[in-house]
Amino acid sequence: MKIFDDEHFRDGDEPETGRREFVAGIGMLMAGAMGVSKAAATESGVTPLPAPAESMTTVLITGANRGLGLEFARQYAERGCRIIATCRNPDDATDLNAIAAGNPNVHVEKLDVLEHSAIDGLAAKYANMPIDILLNNAGIGGGIQNQIFGRLEYEVFYDVIAVNAVGPIKMCEAFRDHVKASALKKMITVSSSQGSIASVSMPMLYWYRSSKSAVNMMMTNLALQVARRGIIVGLVTPGATATDFIDPRFRKAIPNIREPEVAAADMIRNIDRFTLENTGSFFNYDGEIIPW
């Protein structure tokens, strides 16, 4: 098997060096040589949103019909962003459609992230639209009962990994040029603290957790790959949130479970913090770095 075949590293042929030095050097490199937005290297490390109107920030959100995705759409729309809100069944997305009805900058699009041709189709439809924040929010849990050692359901693993790990990286492939053409240049994925191998302390959710570890690895690779294009890659977590994702029967058992509007606001704050200096980080909702 070929592993070290540098000529094929089309997008990121960086010399092998310590990651810290490598990442630290990127900011200056970008601001100078690549001519990207100066905003990406402000002293505070916080990237301000550009003014609306013609330089309107555009956010593409997958799984925007309910839960965290819906909150992302609502809150970014309130900020004055243009929203491309995708979901599998727009006809049933009552809440999302209500937001779109009152805001001409919110565009609802049908998309199942399992259908790669549909992803490519959507990317083609918006070919000339810079996308500042590609927000991979869609995810599935796979069902607790399908992931118990002794009766693991193997096909469920593929479903979970296809949505949670393949979907995001495929979206990043398809929309790479849109993000690259934008001002903020961010590719963000909603991961989970359940994907932290270092942190898990009770055995459960084998497939869900593995899918999140897998997507964390994918996005770490991607961060290294696209940094020299000025693209920032980030992972955020909502914390335990009272959405359809967690069965109502279990919600009561989770102390400090949070409402989706709070969780989304925290993640948006963390997404604002991403720069080329901290690209590839895994931000907990409270702003702390989660260990892998």
Partner: protein, 291 residues
């Protein structure tokens, strides 16, 4: 498999008490037989008590992918140590080196196994139902081809194959052979992972699928370690380092370590594994690789 999983997944003391009670009752005996408990009751040593095993107890290791490279060397070194070796390979008829090795070492048994053939996994587990397996050694793995996993040109069908071999198969085989492991003295489930699966150590973008499959595997095995610790089972990942095998054919020889060294290093780490250190990810030099 499900019934035998539950029958052994209780405290060993309860198994002993239950065995006594069940022997008094025909109904109980029928229950026991129906739930795969008969094999457990026949065993003289108490799997929960290593001291109850005879001094001349011969441990058994099952190794996947033992026809070449690291798997072959594992088979050779465990056989020379005097262990019983169940050496599996996808195509034993083509595994000439392994067959020659088995001819020299009567303690090596070759079995056909494609780790992605889950029916065959179950059949093999059934075939060895009375054999305690001290070390379940998940060695079989694939890289997926470096040029199938470039960003902007991902070959998604390859991704599924890589996951199937590297991530799912070790979990399936662990499920199928869990009763064999729990009945053994040493009770170890070890997977050959890779430092490429360390998110912390990733410094160049490459091998998206391979790396993700190993990160996913590490998570699944970490879960398994947490799950089985109180059963006395130790679970770990070991990393061979860059090794001079077909797997690393693209690398210059001077960057690679000899296979016997890589394997003896991993065996040393496996020897040192206990339930206290379960869930660890061992570098070949014995240090812990960060996730």
């Amino acid at each position: 498999m499900r019934s035998s999983f539950y029958s052994v997944a209780v405290r060993p003391q309860l198994v002993a008490i239950a065995a006594g009670l069940l022997a008094l009752s025909l109904t109980g005996a029928a229950f026991s037989a129906a739930h795969g408990g008969a094999a457990l009751m026949k065993q003289f040593p108490d799997p929960a008590d290593p001291a109850s095993f005879a001094a001349d107890y011969v441990p058994t290791v099952l190794i996947t992918g033992s026809n070449r490279g690291i798997g072959f060397e594992f088979a050779r070194q465990y056989a020379e140590r005097g262990w019983n070796v169940i050496a599996t390979a996808r195509k034993p008829e083509q595994a000439d080196a392994l067959k020659a090795l088995a001819a020299e070492h009567p303690n090596i048994t070759i079995e056909q196994l494609d780790v992605t053939d889950f029916d065959r996994v179950d059949a093999l587990a059934k075939q060895y139902v009375d054999t305690p397996i001290d070390l379940l050694l998940h060695n079989a793995g694939i890289g997926g081809g470096g040029d199938n996993q470039f960003f902007l040109d991902m070959q998604w069908d390859v991704w599924r194959q890589v996951l199937e071999v590297n991530t799912l198969a070790p979990m399936k085989i662990s499920e199928a052979f869990y009763p064999h492991v729990i009945a053994s003295r040493d009770k170890k489930i070890v997977t050959v992972s890779s430092s490429e699966g360390s998110i912390t150590k990733a410094m160049q973008p490459r091998l998206y699928f391979y790396r993700s499959s190993k990160a996913a595997l590490n998570m699944a095995m970490k879960n398994l370690a947490l799950q089985l610790k109180r059963k006395g089972v130790s679970v770990a990942m070991v990393n061979p380092g860059p090794t001079d095998t077909d797997f690393m054919a693209g690398l210059p020889k001077k960057m690679l370590r000899p296979t016997p060294d890589a394997v003896s290093d991993m065996m040393r780490n496996i020897d040192g594994l206990t339930v206290e250190t379960t869930g660890s990810f061992y570098q070949y030099d014995g240090t812990i690789i960060p996730w």
